[in-house]
Symmetry: C2
Subunit: 349 residues, 2 copies
């Protein structure tokens, strides 16, 4: 057993863990590892928002974004999702992961990419676009997997999987897997602000974030699950999960949840895959913790998971959580409805 915090990210603590050194978790879980060359990662969510009748245009736009990932300096990993939001809009999101922010910058600043994104044509495509990009440093994110191979998300751009880790199985363990938690509470400062544009008018809107906005990606993959595990997922877990995710989407604002999207993976043609995850933005990690450890829907998911985790074979459950500095965030919306992403809770300045 080893700490979730990798050796090269350890430092003298000013903040202690909840658990004592001899704590033993009730079952094994693992985290992704990367060597010191990984300094900062880019998690870039590119969205396409549309009404059903514009599906053909939206699909093409999504495919264009995916194709742009093949250009020089493109991401090392990506996946594609679909969801319908609570305003009745469909959304494709293509998320790319870069292990090197420099490569991301070179990619984004390439003519093909930046011209496409910045072009006025995007304002006239008849659909919406958004990009939500956070660039956490190596000490600003944590992962947790109930499996050890073919890591999804940020894990795919890292090097390896850990040995069994100690910091899991108790509330507060996500925080304690963050290397920065050794010395920093990751508190929010400031508020979301509209710094350009007007959500009600459409067009381009830029939202300014603040330090320590917390992004969680929490996923389930039942591609290779047998009937029994599918039953477990669909009957025992999904109802609570869906209720919890709907609650956060519709009523999360009061709790500090800026945006919550429960998305389903799709292939390049938009066909549904047996993979899903939630993308949640929170004002700060402590707000996410309070919800996770007290809301009945999440507690039900959690107790079910505890009950079945040691028997899981091919139902793959995991999450990744990050915080980022305001200066390492980009939130841009083009012709999206005003409830989209960070716009909903952002103040006009």
């Amino acid at each position: 057993m080893e700490s979730a915090i990798d050796k090269h990210l350890k430092c003298p603590r000013t903040l202690s863990r909840r658990i004592h050194d001899e704590y033993e978790p009730p079952f094994a879980m693992w985290v992704a590892r990367a060597d010191e060359s990984l300094q900062q990662v880019v998690m870039a969510y590119f969205g396409v928002q549309f009404k059903s009748e514009q599906k053909a245009i939206a699909l093409k736009a999504m495919q264009h974004i995916v194709q742009s990932f093949s250009l020089d300096n493109g991401p090392q990993n990506h996946d594609i999702t679909h969801h319908t939001d609570n305003q009745g809009y469909e959304n494709y999101i293509v998320v790319g992961y870069w292990r090197d922010p420099g490569a991301y910058c070179r990619w984004f600043r390439s003519t093909e990419v930046s011209h496409w994104w910045d072009s006025d044509e995007r304002l006239n495509d008849g659909i919406g676009y958004f990009r939500e990009i956070v660039i956490p440093r190596a000490d600003q994110f944590e992962t947790l997997y109930a499996f050890k191979e073919d890591l999804p998300g940020v894990g795919a751009v890292m090097d390896d999987i850990s040995d069994d880790i100690q910091e899991h199985g108790y509330w507060g363990s996500a925080r304690e897997r963050f290397p920065i938690s050794q010395t920093d509470r990751m508190l929010a400062n400031g508020e979301l602000h509209i710094i350009s544009g007007d959500p009600e008018k459409g067009g381009r809107v830029l939202v300014q974030g603040h330090d320590n906005i917390t992004l969680i990606r929490s996923g389930q993959d039942w591609v290779n699950a047998d009937e029994k595990e599918r039953e477990l997922y669909f009957n025992e877990m999904l109802p609570s999960l869906q209720a919890g995710m709907d609650f956060l989407r519709d009523e999360g604002q009061a709790l500090g949840c800026y945006s919550n999207r429960f998305v389903r993976n799709v292939d390049i043609d938009g066909n549904l895959l047996d993979i899903a995850y939630d993308i949640g933005y929170w004002r700060s990690l402590d707000k996410l913790e309070r919800w996770a450890e007290s809301h009945p829907t999440h507690l039900r998911i959690f107790t079910t998971f505890f009950k079945v985790v040691t028997g899981l074979q091919n139902l793959r459950l995991y999450h990744e959580v990050s915080v980022s500095d305001a200066k390492n965030q980009v939130f841009e919306y083009i012709n999206c409805h005003p409830q989209t992403g960070m716009m909903r809770d952002a103040q006009m300045t």
Copy 2:
């Protein structure tokens, strides 16, 4: 709002809290306060164990113990409970609270009390007796009340009620209400040992404890509750509570729960009152925390409590939790069945 840790018990921290300084709990709760003259309290559980056919003798024994509390240096507060254990024995427990361990010693060493307890007659009464006494220092216990008047248990021997306190509403808050948690993790050392007698043979058995055995008293009082609150208690809370308490009683050993008794208050004649509490002994506070924050029955109790707490009028919910040094514990059993109290998990030496 103020800290659950009283001013005179604050000290420079070596261990940090889970919460940040600006944390605001979702609703108000309170703790008992005492001035610096309270250095250490005695929580003394005196038990009478019997088969139903010996009820008359047992009742007399229980009444004798209660009457002895009126002698000089008796406790400032006491109450009486009844429960049937999982071996089919009934038990009366009289619990006394002393604010001054010196007074307790003088009381117990008085001829009337010590002679009665030490007399060989107790071996021949045809019923069992036990005493479980823990004497935590002021920094070794915490309380939590969802009400502010007529505090039960240890609160009744203290001076006052706090203002709204900060450390509640999150997992780990019980620990963080302990003054000693500022510098000490309250870890268990050693094991329970039989130091005299043999549980299988009956007679007198003494069990040696170890540092930081954790005692929780967690109570409900529906004496003045109206129909709606009784319904809430009996229909929404009690089923989960009963299931959780039965689980700990019967299967708690593997989790570090040494003993669990869900008891009902009675009057001096043994008539049931509308007051109940659980008396749980744990190897250490972290074992109790792990159970409380992960077991479905407790999570259900917890989420129900969260839902209804702000509306509670006369359903009184509270708990008190203590740890104690091995040298400040007494566990003695006289003709009790070998599953009683600390005997079940104690090793013969």
